[in-house]
């Protein structure tokens, strides 16, 4: 790995440089909340240590995107559409970088999804260090640090940033737009210091090794916990929306008022919503909220792990923050751990 030192002032000129080549999205304040947004100048960036309430998922997998455009009538046609532009995601935290790697796998395996992959190819990812708030539990699911999946990663060491170079693309951009010098051993040591400090700050924790969680969930299928949280769940789908690894979608058509043309769109869907597994005849394969929550939690800790080999919960804590009735995925997991331990003893 190659490490360069970038001063705090240097960041602004680097972002200015990026703005010449890319649409740049970074953490900004929207309605008082930290969120990702498009920026036009480096002053708009809020490079906070705290997590953003929404992940940058929608820049790679938009909430609504056009798959096809069609015309009806005499000159009928159907054309595929790919919406992608050069973009830089600036200030992405480690959990979200892990999430993007998982999304890459999902959309590349089997039949590759050209809409996602083209957008992904045109995306530069610049990560940044963060500190946990009361909901974060990335340490418990091994996503507190990243060693790949980014083009550049900025480690805050107080006096400036140690920039970790992840790819050739990132390297070229850094040399082109920023004045950096080789990071000294002292500066790199500070980087490790930050990591150690961060590791001690977590309030939310899962009380078991991450690698044991798939088996735990597999054994907890009949746990009373699902009924318990199913009773209070509103089935609103907020947890699906804010999750950086929830990728289920619906495909819908829309036509103009004169019915001559329209498009086929992909929009986010959520497995906690009532109609998600309902077929045309009326049969619903996951009727109750308890069943749907169990499905969602298992997708994060067991089902997708079987398929793709990694936990699909990256510990960002967003579903905990957004839940209207305080269903806490880490606490629920801890309850399952407790139950399992009780059964064993």
């Amino acid at each position: 790995m190659n490490y360069r030192f970038l001063s705090k002032k240097g960041v602004a000129s680097f972002v200015t440089g990026l703005l010449k080549e890319f649409r740049v999205y970074g953490p900004v304040k929207k309605d008082g909340f930290p969120m990702y947004g498009e920026i036009t100048s480096p002053d708009e960036l809020h490079l906070l240590h705290t997590p953003t309430h929404l992940s940058p998922k929608h820049y790679l997998f938009p909430q609504r995107e056009t798959l096809l455009r069609f015309k009806n009538g005499e000159n009928h046609s159907i054309e595929p559409t790919v919406e992608a532009h050069d973009q830089a995601l600036f200030g992405v935290h480690s959990c979200d970088i892990h999430a993007i790697r998982l999304m890459d796998m999902v959309f590349a395996y089997g039949t590759p999804d050209v809409n996602y992959l083209k957008r992904r190819e045109k995306t530069v990812i610049i990560g940044i260090d963060c500190l946990p708030d009361k909901h974060c539990f990335c340490k418990s699911v091994n996503t507190m640090t990243v060693d790949s999946g980014f083009d550049l990663f900025l480690h805050d060491i107080g006096s400036g940033f140690v920039v970790e170079i992840g790819t050739r693309k990132g390297n070229d951009l850094l040399y082109k737009h920023a004045k950096t010098k080789k990071a000294t051993a002292g500066e790199r040591a500070k980087m490790a210091e930050f990591k150690n400090k961060k590791a001690e700050l977590f309030i939310t924790k899962i009380n078991a090794e991450a690698s044991t969680l798939p088996l735990l969930y597999s054994g907890s299928y009949f746990s009373p916990v699902w009924e318990k949280i199913g009773k209070i769940c509103y089935g609103c789908g907020s947890c699906n929306n804010v999750c950086p690894t929830c990728y289920c979608f619906d495909v819908r058509d829309d036509v103009t008022l004169n019915l001559t043309e329209g498009g086929r769109y992909r929009v986010w869907d959520g497995c906690t919503l009532e109609d998600f597994a309902k077929v045309a005849g009326g049969h619903n394969f996951r009727k109750t909220r308890a069943e749907r929550l169990r499905h969602r939690f298992n997708r994060k800790f067991q089902y997708q792990v079987d398929k793709f080999g990694g936990l699909f919960c990256v510990g960002c804590g967003r579903c905990i923050r957004t839940c209207l009735v305080n269903i806490n995925i880490a606490e629920v997991t801890n309850e399952l751990i407790e139950e399992t331990n009780k059964d064993r003893s």
Binding site: N2, V114, F249, D253, K278
Partner: protein, 310 residues
Amino acid sequence: MSLLKRQIKTEVKKMRRLEDEKNISTSQPLNLSSSVFDITSPYIPRLARIERITRLTEKERLFTIAIEDGKALGHQPGQFIMLSIPGFGEAPISVSSPPDNGNMFELCVRAVGNLTNALHNLSKGDRIWIRGPYGKGFPVESLKGKDLLFISGGIGLVPMRSLIKTVLSERLSYGRANLLYGVKAPDEILFRDELSQWERTGTINIQITIDKPHPAWKGHTGVVTTLLPPLKIDETKTVAIVVGPPVMYKYVIMSLGDKRIAGHDIYLSLERRMKCGLGKCGHCQINSVYVCQEGPVFRLSDIRYLREAI
């Protein structure tokens, strides 16, 4: 001398710089090379036309579809396509005809949702769009030489017809064949003419049952499982193929167990909501299994312990 030293120094610097660069990982988690630009959207459908519409019952019609580009659909019995009408959306529909019919194929559709109602309003010559075929169908080759026991409920006969017709077209390759078919009421019996034709030729033994007694019905009454106990089959060489509504499977599987048919000799086709057919959209997921990829046809022994499957 100092000049030489300086030269050496710059050389060393250069080398270090090169070494540094070598250490940069150029590999990304994915191979997102230029090849990404070569792949086409998997959502592009093929244009097709409705050649013929046959009314089967009040709610079901049989659509004969011709693909505009003249190429065959290339499906296997049990596979499905994504059918769409621009403006009304897409839905997964089982192919009801056997393979090898040129660019023509048949869909039997019940008007039950947004898209299927729109389809029923179309007429001969109208355009529709299809993509697929998708999923895994029935294992036609491994059924050869076996006695076949087809058990179908209601609209489950639709995908099964593709397999039955495939079997009948090469009848001598298979052993004895039984079809047990359960429907709610006499007027819901699908493919009436074909059933009696198959029966007449004597190549397949057919028993139809109606759920509840009906004035117009003189045949067997009761759910489809009531046909099983008196049936004489050789459990050592019988393979059961079961397609029906979700509620039917549990009981049919139990009855097949009573007949001593093993789990690896039972094939089922599972229905789920589907939006993409590509193993992405998540709607058809049962635990870690995507029905559109690993199904819709499953061997019972493979999914017996898959929770939520049956």
